[in-house]
Symmetry: C2
Subunit: 346 residues, 2 copies
Amino acid sequence: MKFGLFGSAQAKRGGPDVDSAKGYRDWLEYNTEAEALGFHSTFAVEHHFTGFGQVSATVNLLTYLAAQTSTIRLGTAVMVLPWHNPVLLAEQVATLDLLSGGRFDFGVGKGYRFNEFKGFRIPMEEAEARFEESLKIMTKSWTEDEPWTYEGEFWSYEDVVVEPPTAQQPHPPFWMGAGSPASIESVAERGYNMLVDQFAPVDTTIGRVNTFRDCVEARGRIFNPYEVGVARGLYVAKDAADRDAAIERRIAARARVDNLAQRPDGGNKSSIMSYDDSVETTAEAAMFGTVDEIVAKIQRFHDAGVRYMLFSDGGTGIEGLRTFSKEIMPHFADEEDDVAVARAAE
Amino acid sequence: MKFGLFGSAQAKRGGPDVDSAKGYRDWLEYNTEAEALGFHSTFAVEHHFTGFGQVSATVNLLTYLAAQTSTIRLGTAVMVLPWHNPVLLAEQVATLDLLSGGRFDFGVGKGYRFNEFKGFRIPMEEAEARFEESLKIMTKSWTEDEPWTYEGEFWSYEDVVVEPPTAQQPHPPFWMGAGSPASIESVAERGYNMLVDQFAPVDTTIGRVNTFRDCVEARGRIFNPYEVGVARGLYVAKDAADRDAAIERRIAARARVDNLAQRPDGGNKSSIMSYDDSVETTAEAAMFGTVDEIVAKIQRFHDAGVRYMLFSDGGTGIEGLRTFSKEIMPHFADEEDDVAVARAAE
């Protein structure tokens, strides 16, 4: 199996006494060590105007990390396309992809936080159309070698050829989150990779992976399980009490983040926000537990055909990753299995 | 004196046989060695749709260089503000400034190449107004700690606080190119630093620096000569024949670049394009010459009070910088002089 990471760096605003760069440096160190520990990828969020310093210029932060690393894949989860001029973003992404030797994974989304739409003065109702137009323009930017002109609803360009080229051809892989059967089918239809959210119960998640495989195979393609990343919170607990306290903290933290996404009228019904956040559901979905418990939880996904999991830090930080690397990864280092997967995907 | 660099990395588009990243890697190596050779700064251009791969995502490329260096200042010369959402650019710049420990120098411009305005479908007539609005919004983004709302002509934001903060306070220094007395006065009025273009004859350039000093002092501030960067082409020639051939090549190359800026009606009268490009003028303005000749040329600027020069590579590459560092820099390493300058500026 392959294991990656996702999360956010945090740079606090403050007076002269606050070292705002510390949160970024910590995140960079965490990820450079994660590379050495055998983690395959790291995905960073993009958020704006949070008031608590979530990373905003995600491609830039990943570019700095690219210079400090050599194998770990660098992803966004997700870039919100409606905020960006798609040609400028295509240039930024291509620059990172070139500089990193083709290590960029492009997780994209249409946005869901009300306060970000308000901040950028973009109507939430335009999210879908802006997202689709951006995808079209970015793909065109990377694949057209001759000057082109585009007349769109939100963006227009005349007689342009976009530089630099990407390292990965025809362009970096797109990753999209999906939950409902229709959205899963849409990801398969586009030929993109899929991210499955961290909050869904295990059986729900496995069902989604199966739906994706069916959709891919129904289109005559061979399913590559590395093209689905199952996200989970990770907390490598000392014992049961340590685990239970961490789960309580996780539920409280999630409520805070959900508030950022909510519209004043409570009208945000995104599937990412619709799970119950009871202790039972959270304990079952999250990779919070002792080493043995986590091994058993991953085994359940492995048995269902999942081969790629992405972890957000639930609080055990780099120490948790060290333990994971040493005591959990070896259980899932079945090379024959992975070689077979890779061969099937060729 | 302080010596910096300016120029562009180049990433060629092409088929599978073209290593598009090579131009970027070469530029990065050139600049990391330049740091070791004692160069103070490096400024990179921003251009789009050139067809020959000039750097487009300048802040990203500088962010990668930031991770590979520790003292060299990282500048843009210049970012063209009308292309960018000013809040996104403020976030990107702040991220670089934070990650680099406050090494960012923000050269800004309003754009002058017709094909870029056409490409982005932005009327050239809006350049000035877009530039001014962007400066206002970016400065606000970096200096306001409480949520703000802005209703502009081109951009509007509601209830935002922009993150992360910059490392330099209140924000990275702005640098602006200027030629005419009115534009020089405007740079001084804003409190920005000034870039002087590489093509103007020596006396013209010295006159501009003097005008800037007068404007700064007329406002009751103390003039700091490190806040003016005089740009020049640099070619460390073996002998007179080598120098003369390089000057011929420089004139030919400049004609090619000028064509990119020109409007179909020939109506681009920017001062940067109005010098004659005769051998005599070019030979006098450019730092093309043997070691002794270049020392004499720099001495002329030094005698006139110039303390900061920026060089673009005229063809001698890193070898030219090595010679410059070893044989030319020591002539201008007058510490007492520089300490006095720094003290006067406090």
